[in-house]
Amino acid sequence: MDNHFQSPVDRFVTLLPRQLSGSISSDENAELSEILANYPDLRLQAELFAAMWDQEKKVFPSVEVKEAYMRHFLKYKSEFLFDGEQDQIGGINNAEINFTSAKTVFLPKWKQLMAAGLLLTITITSFLFFYNPKSVSKEQSPAISSVITKYGNKSKINLPDGSQVWLNAGSRLDYNSLDFNKTLREVDLSGEAYFDIAHNVAKPFIVRSGKMQIRVLGTMFNVKAYPEEKNIETSLIKGSVEITINDRPQDKYILSPNEKLVISNNGLAQKSPTLNTVNVSKADKENTDIIALKKVEYHAIEKIVVETAWVQNKLVFKSEKFSDLAKRMERWYDIEIRFRNLSKKELKFTGIFTSETIQQALKAMRVVHSFTYMKENNIIFID
């Protein structure tokens, strides 16, 4: 009922709130982008409304919310376990104290960075939506939009179809801004990203990453595919995804929520001893790939899903080899870690970092295992 008779400006006013609230169809989104390309003076308006939509709204400060929960808890206390009881069940109480205290330390810094973050998000978003991406990309077709995160940084991308992508440090996401959303929604990923895909049965969303391809309709999942790491992991939180591996398109792996598919990364695949411990599924007896279906890891003490914890700014590791953890720390802290004593690579660590500096993190790790470290410029030597 709405279209041909309206002026572009009227169409803009109709489409803008649809886009901001994620209620826009892909065709409409393309139409909106076109209007903005043709009427540059509407961009400021679009950006201001986008910023307004992003504002965090609070009636009560968090202290009052916590008090409200206490009243609620006391009112129905017979239906809950008391803290003391919880403690007996499994030390949950202790862990929770640590968790909340860590959070309090963490908050002010978070707040400080919020201002910068808001601006950054707006910039990236508007950049992707409103400008011809010519200037972003080199040595490739002008239609390719790229978002690249350096070590120590993360970013959030709003795709033109309303899907959202959180990009972890040292990662890159590319998509063709002309073709995206025409018949398919295709992106290329190198590194780690968390996807929250807008539902659209007509236009499947495809993530191409190294040797595999993930096809989804609308869902939330995490992909970890750093070229330098030995495994590629896809963890599903909600919905369903279908994974194919490029060199054998006949096999399809369908994940259910709470499952994760681990594929060894052929590029660098040395036969590492840890890989022998995973369950090899029936589908790939004779193949060089090593594929395992696992459960998404759940950190019972921190109450957090390990695979997606980074989105909440937490570096979580569970009996992880120092050599693997070091790679993640390099990206997380934007530093380089070199092992001068190679035996230390095999040490295993379990823990969680939030606001710790690299120094504090290493100090904490030294409590668990004996090693020494030396920091020279941006390089940390492990001895």
């Binding site: 709405d2 002026s7 572009p8 400006v9 006013v13 109709t14 803008l16 709130p17 649809r18 901001l20 609230s21 994620g22 209620s23 003076d41 308006q45 201001l48 910023a51 307004m52 939509w53 504002q55 709204k57 609070k58 009636v59 009560f60 919310v65 409200a68 929960y69 609620h72 808890f73 009112k75 129905y76 239906e79 809950f80 376990l81 919880q86 949950i92 919020m114 201002a115 910068a116 973050g117 808001l118 601006l119 707006i122 993360k154 970013s155 959030k156 959202q164 959180w166 968390y194 929250d196 939330m220 939180i237 929520p257 709470n258 109450k303 899903v305 997606t308 989105v311 909440q312 700014n313």
Partner: protein, 193 residues
């Protein structure tokens, strides 16, 4: 720095509540308390009642936690439950029966809490604020639900028992009025094209 989109947390929280985790339940409560309280308050105009309503709705989730994964859209479920419970309370109190949510009056929140962060001037923010206050009631509550609460058109339509096209029209109206407030010096000439 990344601000977590609530839905991610909701899907995870739902799973954890299903696994009897009281802390996940607490997180869910704290995540939605502000918004649900406000919805209840818009309807009941009573702080005590609003708190009780939100409390009622939440304990229902905890009591039936073994079924919590069957809820498709937990956020919408919470909003609808709070709306219905509030209207029931109100009907009992006033004995008048039907109350229409979209005709209720309320005060919207500030459009920008920190306008300087995004280079919006004080006057612009004030004009915007006045414009939101002066939206017709139905338009205002739809704008509130879609913008402040982040509901989709379909969710807002379902919550208010309105058609999607009504949501559409009302938001067009809101955007037009707010645009006029923001750029009032030159927007009028542009609207007639």
């Amino acid at each position: 720095m990344i601000v977590l989109k609530p839905q991610i947390t909701i899907a995870e929280l739902q799973l954890r509540i299903f696994h009897n985790e009281q802390t996940a339940y607490k997180e869910l409560f704290e995540l939605f308390y502000n918004k649900l309280f406000r919805l209840a308050f818009i309807i009941t105009k009573s702080r005590e009642l609003s708190e009780e309503i939100v409390s009622d709705v939440f304990i229902g989730i905890w009591r039936r936690r073994e079924h919590v994964l069957e809820i498709n859209n937990l956020r919408l479920y919470l909003y609808i439950s709070v709306k219905n419970t509030s209207l029931n309370y109100l009907a009992q109190l006033t004995k008048t029966g039907v109350v229409c949510l979209e005709e209720l009056d309320f005060e919207p929140l500030q459009p920008f809490s920190n306008p300087e962060e995004i280079l919006v001037t004080k006057e612009m923010n004030q004009r915007l604020n006045d414009a939101i206050q002066n939206l017709p009631p139905r338009c205002r509550i739809i704008f509130k639900l879609v913008k402040e609460d982040g509901l989709s058109y379909n969710e807002a339509a379902e919550l208010l028992n309105l058609s999607r096209s009504t949501i559409d029209n009302q938001l067009v109206l809101a955007i037009k009025k707010l645009t006029k407030a923001l750029f009032y010096s030159f927007s009028t000439s542009k609207n007639k094209s």
